[in-house]
């Protein structure tokens, strides 16, 4: 499958330093991959990506990707109340809290 992919803020700097294109690029992924699989494939460690937009909304990292999806990776550091208002913090709390 092919997804469209963006990385913001520090994530962009990290990927660029490794020569990985990350501004509005198409990328081939194996069928059945989740967002987390994709983050791992790019080499990010735990905590480096706080939240992920999937087709314009913040979604759990366990979500399975599909052909044509649009993915944007967001590292920690979203200013203002937007971390709350966009649901970034709530999703992050949910994902990092021990069950």
């Amino acid at each position: 499958m092919t997804i469209n992919f963006n990385a913001f803020s520090f994530a962009r700097l990290t990927l660029r330093s490794q020569g990985i294109e990350c501004v509005n690029v198409d990328r081939e992924l194996r069928d059945g991959m989740t967002i987390q699989d994709f983050i791992d494939e790019l080499g990010f460690e735990a905590g480096e990506i706080e939240a992920v937009f999937l087709n314009g909304t913040i979604r759990p990292k366990s979500t399975v990707l599909h052909d044509g999806d649009r993915v944007a990776l967001l590292p920690p550091g979203t200013p203002g109340s937007y971390r709350l208002i966009l649901g970034i913090k709530a999703m992050n709390d949910q994902e990092t809290s021990p069950e």
Partner: protein
């Protein structure tokens, strides 16, 4: 020495220095300005007439060594919204006023009707009020430089440019920053109030006044250390803001489909990458600007920036998300350097970035000029507005009025004030803040967060109504409290992750005044301020029907999420149930 109220009467050019009434002792910043405006200004008065007052107040912690405590609040009845207004800004003024012991500077009355403009100079227990004909018709940078030459660099300066002199509704008030550049008391057309009182410039000189008095210096120092540590170690205030500034939001809000574009027609912009914080930071690095810059001396976060042109020459500082959005996404200019140039012009003449950008969007919608035409904007800002031509006055009257003049239906205002950079249909929590805040469509009203009142447990979907009214209410209560401390709003976010942050802030307030406030007291302070401001607006004639979103947002869906405004009136009005 105890703090004093300095009062200037423009009707007879006199002043008095008064003791602080007991009820005002524990207040500062927005809490104090709103309390004084509510107590002394007739809500039904004309905002540009003799009965409006301007109240300048430093925050509770301003003038101390507390990190990020240098905000000055200005309160008045707004000529733009017709309601109460508090606008706050960084710059050097809060620290200087606090050191001089100025709890608040109240300016009332109107001078005789002639062409005279005045300069108010505040020193220890004294105020001079003198005509300043040589600066009439001049813009802010010239006024600022003249004052710094006269008094040295340590003086605080508030000034208006020609739009303020002409009482235009988009005008703001400039505040000197530590580098001799400009920050602004931006929203609500308060520059017009200063213009109506015929005041061109206010300077405050603390002379050799020492550090602000602390009731318990040792406790204060320890708390400030903990507070500063929390700010520096947080990923937002410690890394994200210094590296990219507030403009990092362009890509994020665009991705969320909430970046208002082409006068609030779309939720994403084709220009997002050009406008993005990542791109601005790249330019700054290549051209030798600065990604970190503080708007006042005690800032440890430094979200502000210094932006240079392609040849490495200084263009502007404080190049913020709201400005870049207003002219880039909303009005459609696809070149970041043109927007930086416009930012500098707007600092110089003294107009609010948000109101002016939204006004150009509505003007383009009405056919007055094309979308995205940077040259046309520059011409209006540098020729038409300073000269007060009919075209200049039309743009100078703000988005709501331009919409009426051109028969435009898509006019993104609440209480006649232009909406900031977040689409209320796609980011509904922000929309609730726009309609309910007593300030008119304002984003900073609900910008800050304090954990003790924030139930952030449940999942928030910005496209859905659930939980939004409560979220907005908690954000607004926290913001009202933070705005009273003199702290910049960004101190509030580390508090979400670091439980040491907020108690340290409260410890500092207690150590400064010898008080025993708790977290609940601070929450109650925020609630009281909001209620007081709301009551003023009700008396001024701004009722429930004014707490509403523009109608087009209820029947036009916003791409890409096809989002719509679907709150009922009852749901909105429930905001005030606290």
């Amino acid at each position: 020495m105890a703090d004093k109220i300095y009062r200037v009467r423009m009707n007879d050019l006199s002043f008095s220095v008064e003791d602080v009434p007991k009820e005002w002792l524990g207040l500062g910043g927005r809490g104090l300005t709103s309390t004084i405006v509510a107590a002394e200004v007739d809500p039904e008065c004309h905002p540009l007439g003799p009965n409006n007052k301007m109240v300048f107040a430093p925050g509770l912690l301003s003038g101390t060594a507390a990190a990020n405590s240098g905000r000055t609040s200005l309160g008045a009845k707004s000529p733009l919204t017709g309601g109460i207004k508090e606008s706050n800004s960084g710059g050097t003024s809060a620290g200087i006023m606090a050191k001089l012991g100025v709890k608040a500077l109240i300016i009332e009355g109107l001078p005789e009707e002639d062409d005279t403009f005045y300069h108010i100079h505040v020193t220890k227990e004294h105020v001079t009020i003198e005509p300043i004909p040589e600066l009439v018709g001049k813009e802010n940078f010239e006024v600022l430089d003249t004052m710094l030459e006269r008094y040295g660099r340590k003086v605080a300066v508030f000034s208006i440019g020609t739009p303020g002199e002409q009482r235009m509704l988009i005008s703001n008030i400039s505040v000197k920053d530590p580098q001799g550049k400009i920050r602004s008391l931006g929203r609500g057309g308060l520059g017009a109030v200063m213009g109506s009182k015929k005041i061109k410039v206010i300077t405050v000189d603390a002379g050799d006044s020492k550090e602000t008095y602390l009731a318990d210096a040792a406790t204060f120092r320890a708390a400030n250390k903990a507070f500063t540590k929390a700010l520096k170690e947080n990923p937002i205030s410690g890394e994200g803001l210094p590296a990219f500034g507030t403009d990092i939001l362009v890509n994020i809000i665009n991705e969320a489909g909430g970046l208002p574009s082409m006068n609030f027609r779309y939720g994403t912009s084709e220009n997002a990458e050009e406008l993005s914080g990542e791109h601005v930071a790249e330019n700054i690095q290549e051209r030798g600007g600065k990604t970190t810059h503080g708007c006042h001396a005690g800032c440890v976060i430094q979200c502000s920036q210094v932006y240079n042109d392609k040849d490495g020459n200084y263009v502007t500082s404080g190049f913020e998300y709201e400005m870049i959005w207003a002219f880039g996404a909303n009005y459609g200019i696809d070149d970041i350097d043109t927007i930086a140039h416009i930012d500098h012009i707007m600092d110089d003449i003294g107009v609010d970035a948000i109101e002016t950008g939204v006004t150009f969007g509505v003007a383009a919608e009405g056919g007055m000029l094309p979308f995205g035409d940077g040259e046309a904007v520059i011409k209006i800002l540098t020729e038409e507005i300073p000269n007060g031509t009919p075209t200049g006055r039309v743009i100078g009257s703000g988005a709501g009025n331009v919409g009426k003049l051109y028969g435009v239906v898509r006019v993104p205002v609440v209480k006649n004030q232009g909406m900031p950079a977040y689409e209320p249909r796609a980011i509904k929590g922000q929309g609730i803040t726009y309609v309910t805040t007593p300030m008119g469509a304002d984003h900073t009203a609900g910008y800050a967060v304090a954990t003790n009142i924030l139930n952030s447990g449940g999942h928030i979907d910005p496209l859905k109504k659930e939980g939004q009214v409560e979220l907005s209410r908690n954000l607004q209560i926290a913001s009202a409290a933070i705005d009273s401390t003199g702290m910049c709003i960004f101190v509030a976010f580390p508090a979400l992750d670091d439980p040491a942050c907020l108690p340290a802030l409260i410890d500092m307030i207690n150590a400064r005044f010898g008080a025993e406030l708790t977290g609940d007291d601070v929450t109650n302070l925020g609630k009281n301020i909001l209620k007081l401001e709301h009551a003023f607006n009700l008396k001024a004639g701004l009722g429930k029907a004014d707490d509403r979103i523009p109608e087009f947002m209820k029947y036009e869906t916003l791409p890409p999420h096809d989002a719509i405004w679907d709150f009922t009136n009852e749901e909105i009005d429930a905001f005030w149930d606290f």
